[in-house]
C-alpha cells in the first residue's frame, strides 16, 4: 500500500483517496489483531534452538485463539537481559524474558520489576502444581519455602563425555565414578600414549567449583548458597574445593588435565581426539554426536570419595522465563496459559529430545522414556538420572548469589592464574573469594 502511494502518480494526484485507503487497511489489520492479546517473549535462543522456540510459540498460538505469543530473539543471554532491563526502564518491557541462571539473584531482588510465577499462576487461577516439576531443576528458581519465582525453561547439568576408542586402547573398560578412580584411569590413558591429554572441561567454574561443591555436599557459599539471605559469602577457599583444584593442577603437569578456556573453547580438544574425556553440559550431546568421528559415551560427573560416600545431585545451568511487571490482566492470564502449555509433558518431552536440555517435569521425563528415546540414544538419560538420584540438599539446590556473572569471571581468572603457575591453588582461590565477597557485599548494599 505505502509503496503504491509513493510510486503511482495517481496516488499523488489524489492524496486524500490514497491516504484514506491506507488508513482503512491499517485499521482493518489492527482490528483483527486486537481481538487477541499480544504477549512479547524475548529470548536468547539462536539458530536451531530459535527455530524451535518459534515453533513452540506458533503451536501455542494455533492451539487457542485468545492469546498470541510473539517470540523475539534478542542476542546472547547478556544482551537479552540488558535489553529487557533497558526496556523496563523505558516502560516498554516485554511480558516474558528469558534470563540465564546467574542473573537469578538480580531478577528476584528486583521486587517491583517482576511478577513471581507462583503469584501469576494464583492470580490467573491457573491449575498449577509446583510438585510436578523436577525438584533439582525447579529448585534453582524457587524460594526456600517452595514458591516458584520463574519458570525453568532450558536447563542442563554437567556430565562426562568420554572417547570410547581412546579408553579401549588404554585398557579402561569402565568410566570410574569417583575422582580417585578417574585419576588412575587417566594415568593409564596418558601413560599408554592413547591420548596426549586425559581430561578437559568446558565452563570450569560451573563444573569444577559450583558443581563439584554440590555433588560432594559442600557449601559453595554461606547462607545455604545464598538462598537464605543477601549476607552470603563465598566459602570455596575453605573446603575440599582447594584440594580438588590442587589435584587438577597436579594432573596438568603430567597431561591428565588440560585447561581449555572459560566457556566452550575446550570442546575441540575432545572432538579432535586430543583429550580422552571432557566434562561439559548435558545439552552439548548433539554437538558431541555431530563432531565426534569416534565412539563416545556419556558418564555421570564423578564424586570425591574422600569427601562423601554417596553423591548428591548436580546443579543446573541454563535459563528460566521471568514475567516482568507492567503487563495487563489479560496479558498475565495469557502468560499463565502459555506457561501451562509449555510445562505440558508433550511440549517438554519434545523440547528435551530435540535440544538435549533437561525436561522440567517428571511427567515429561517419564513420557520420553516411554517413547523409547533413551534406548535409541544411549547416554541421554545420564543427566536426568544424575539430577534425580537424590533429593537436593542445601548445598545442591543451586546458587543464589548476586553479581554471579562477575564472580564466575573472578573464579575463571583465578583458575587461569593457578593453571599457568602464577599462584598456588590456595592463594588463587583465597584471592578469588576475597574479590567475589566484595562483589557480594556490593550487591547486598544495593539491594537492602
Amino acid at each position: 500500500m505505502s509503496r503504491s502511494l509513493l510510486t503511482s502518480p495517481r496516488a499523488w494526484r489524489r492524496p486524500a483517496l490514497g491516504l484514506a485507503g491506507t488508513l482503512a487497511a491499517t485499521l482493518l489489520s489492527m482490528g483483527s489483531a486486537q481481538a487477541e492479546t499480544q504477549i512479547e517473549w524475548w529470548h536468547a535462543m539462536g539458530g536451531a534452538l530459535g527455530k524451535k522456540v518459534n515453533e513452540i510459540a506458533a503451536d501455542f498460538n494455533a492451539s487457542q485463539d485468545e492469546y498470541v505469543v510473539n517470540p523475539v530473539f534478542k542476542g546472547n543471554y547478556t544482551e537479552t537481559m540488558t535489553s529487557a532491563i533497558a526496556a523496563f526502564r523505558a516502560g516498554k518491557a516485554p511480558q516474558i524474558v528469558q534470563i540465564y541462571e546467574v542473573g537469578t539473584a538480580t531478577m528476584m531482588h528486583a521486587k517491583g520489576a517482576i511478577v513471581p510465577v507462583y503469584q501469576l499462576m494464583a492470580d490467573a487461577n491457573a491449575d498449577f502444581d509446583p510438585n510436578a516439576y523436577l525438584p533439582a531443576v525447579a529448585g534453582y528458581y524457587t524460594t526456600t519455602d517452595g514458591k516458584m519465582l520463574s519458570l525453568p525453561f532450558n536447563s542442563s547439568t554437567p556430565v562426562t563425555y568420554v572417547n570410547r576408542d581412546i579408553l579401549d586402547k588404554a585398557g579402561v573398560d569402565e568410566v570410574p565414578t569417583t575422582w580417585q578412580g578417574l585419576g588412575k584411569a587417566l594415568e593409564k590413558v596418558v601413560d599408554s600414549g592413547a591420548a596426549e591429554c586425559g581430561l578437559t572441561t568446558t565452563w570450569p567454574s560451573w563444573v569444577m567449583l559450583e558443581n563439584y561443591s554440590a555433588r560432594n555436599d559442600i557449601p559453595f557459599a554461606s547462607e545455604a548458597n545464598g538462598f537464605k539471605g543477601l549476607d552470603a559469602r563465598l566459602q570455596f577457599n575453605k573446603t575440599a574445593v582447594v584440594d580438588h583444584i590442587q589435584r587438577l593442577d597436579q594432573w596438568q603437569e603430567d597431561g591428565r588435565f588440560v585447561y581449555g578456556g572459560r566457556k566452550d573453547e575446550a570442546a575441540p580438544k575432545f572432538y579432535s581426539g586430543e583429550c580422552a574425556m571432557m566434562m561439559g553440559s548435558s545439552a552439548s550431546y548433539a554437538g558431541v554426536r555431530d563432531n565426534a568421528d569416534f565412539n563416545f559415551a556419556v558418564a555421570p560427573l564423578p564424586y570425591d570419595a574422600d569427601v562423601v560416600d554417596t553423591p548428591n545431585n548436580t546443579i543446573i545451568g541454563g535459563a528460566s522465563l521471568w514475567v516482568l511487571n507492567g503487563a495487563s490482566e489479560a496479558q498475565k492470564e495469557g502468560v499463565a496459559a502459555f506457561f501451562k502449555y509449555l510445562s505440558s509433558p508433550e511440549v517438554q518431552a519434545d523440547w528435551h529430545q530435540f535440544t538435549g536440555y533437561l525436561p522440567i517435569t517428571t511427567a515429561a521425563a517419564k513420557l520420553t522414556r516411554e517413547q523409547g528415546f533413551y534406548d535409541k540414544n544411549p547416554g541421554t538419560d545420564v543427566a536426568i538420572k544424575q539430577m534425580t538420584g537424590s533429593a537436593p540438599t542445601e548445598n545442591s539446590k543451586g546458587l543464589r548469589l548476586g553479581n554471579m556473572v562477575q564472580i564466575r569471571d573472578v573464579i575463571n581468572e583465578a583458575l587461569e592464574k593457578i593453571f599457568s603457575g602464577d599462584v598456588s591453588p590456595q592463594a588463587g582461590l583465597d584471592e578469588a573469594a576475597e574479590k567475589g565477597n566484595a562483589l557480594l557485599a556490593k550487591f547486598q548494599r544495593a539491594n537492602s
Binding site: T78, T82, A110, V405, E413, S420
Partner: protein
C-alpha cells in the same frame, strides 16, 4: 567576515544537522554518564541514591582498575605505534612500485573493510590452540601457544589483530602523503649526494609529519575505543584480566555486571584521560609538526 555578521541565524541553521547529531549521540549520553557516576542505582532503576564521590573512590581503590590501566597503556602504545610503523613501511614500498601498483594497494587496503569482530574471529581461528594453523606451526617450532591460559600471548594476539585491522587506514593516508611530496625535492637531495636512508629521514619523514600527527591522534582513539570488538571476540578480556582494557572494563561492569554507577564513574575517568591525552598531543607533539 563583516559581510557574514548580518546573518545571525543562517549559520546555526546550516550547522544544525551536525549539532543535533553530536548533541543527541554524544553530549546527551555523556552528560547522563556524568550524572549516573554520582548515584548508586539498582539495574532496573527502582531505587536511586545519591552517592557523592563513592563510585569514583571505589573504582580508584580497585586493584583491577590499575591492571586495566596498565594493560591499556601497553596495548594502546603497541597498537598505535605498530600500526603506524608497519603502514609507513608498506606505504614507502608501495610508493616505489611501478607495475601492478593498484593490485598491491587494493590488497593492502582490504583489511580495513573487515568488521572488527570478523577480524577478531579470523585471528582467533589462526591462533586457536587446538585447531589454529599458526599455533600448529608454532608447536612445530617448540612454542606452546595457548592464549586461553597465557596472558602475554593473549595480549600479543589482540595487539596483532588490532594492528592488522588499522594498518590499512594508516596506509591510505601515508600513501597519499607520500604522493604529495614533490619529486623535485627528493631529486635535489639525491643530486646533493644523500642516500635513500638519509633522503627518507631528512626530506620525506618531516614532510609527512602532518599526516603522521593526524594518524597518531586517530590511532590513539582507535586503540582506546574501537578495538573493543576485537578484544571481545578474541579473548573476552581474559585470561586473568590480561586483555581487559579500560573500555572493556566499562562494558564488563556496566553491561555484564549491571553496576551502572561504577561503570559510569569509569567512563567519566576515561573521558578525562583521553581528553588530557589529546590535549597533550596537540600542545606538545603538534609543535614539532611542520605544515
Amino acid at each position: 567576515m563583516t559581510h557574514f555578521q548580518r546573518y545571525r541565524f543562517t549559520p546555526w541553521l546550516l550547522m544544525a544537522p551536525q549539532l543535533i547529531i553530536v548533541g543527541v549521540f554524544f553530549f546527551w549520553p555523556a552528560l547522563q554518564a556524568v550524572e549516573q557516576a554520582f548515584y548508586v542505582e539498582d539495574a532496573f532503576g527502582l531505587s536511586r541514591q545519591f552517592a557523592g564521590l563513592a563510585n569514583f573512590i571505589a573504582v580508584l581503590q580497585e586493584p583491577d582498575y590499575y591492571q586495566a590501566l596498565g594493560t591499556t597503556v601497553v596495548f594502546s602504545l603497541s597498537v598505535a605505534l605498530g600500526a603506524m610503523a608497519i603502514a609507513l613501511l608498506l606505504a614507502v614500498q608501495a610508493d616505489r612500485v611501478l607495475k601492478g601498483a593498484n593490485a598491491y594497494k587494493t590488497l593492502l587496503i582490504w583489511p580495513y573493510a573487515v568488521a572488527p569482530a570478523v577480524a577478531g574471529v579470523l585471528w582467533l581461528f589462526l591462533f586457536d590452540p587446538t585447531l589454529g594453523l599458526v599455533s600448529a606451526a608454532l608447536k612445530a617450532l617448540g612454542i606452546d601457544w595457548n592464549h586461553n591460559l597465557d596472558g602475554g600471548q593473549a595480549l600479543l594476539l589482540v595487539i596483532l589483530a588490532s594492528i592488522w585491522k588499522q594498518m590499512s587506514y594508516n596506509f591510505v593516508f601515508f600513501l597519499a602523503g607520500l604522493q604529495a611530496i614533490p619529486k623535485s625535492l627528493l631529486e635535489a637531495a639525491a643530486i646533493d649526494g644523500a642516500g635513500p636512508w638519509r633522503r627518507f629521514w631528512t626530506v620525506t619523514f618531516p614532510l609527512l609529519s602532518p599526516t603522521s600527527f593526524f594518524l597518531l591522534v586517530m590511532n590513539s582513539v582507535y586503540a582506546f575505543f574501537e578495538t573493543f570488538g576485537t578484544i571481545d571476540t578474541v579473548t573476552g578480556g581474559g585470561p586473568g584480566g590480561a586483555t581487559t582494557t579500560l573500555v572493556y572494563k566499562v562494558y564488563q561492569d556496566g553491561f555484564i555486571g549491571q553496576d551502572l554507577g561504577a561503570s559510569a564513574a569509569q567512563s567519566v575517568l576515561l573521558m578525562i584521560l583521553v581528553g588530557l591525552l589529546t590535549l597533550i598531543q596537540f600542545r606538545f607533539v603538534e609543535r614539532r609538526v611542520q605544515y
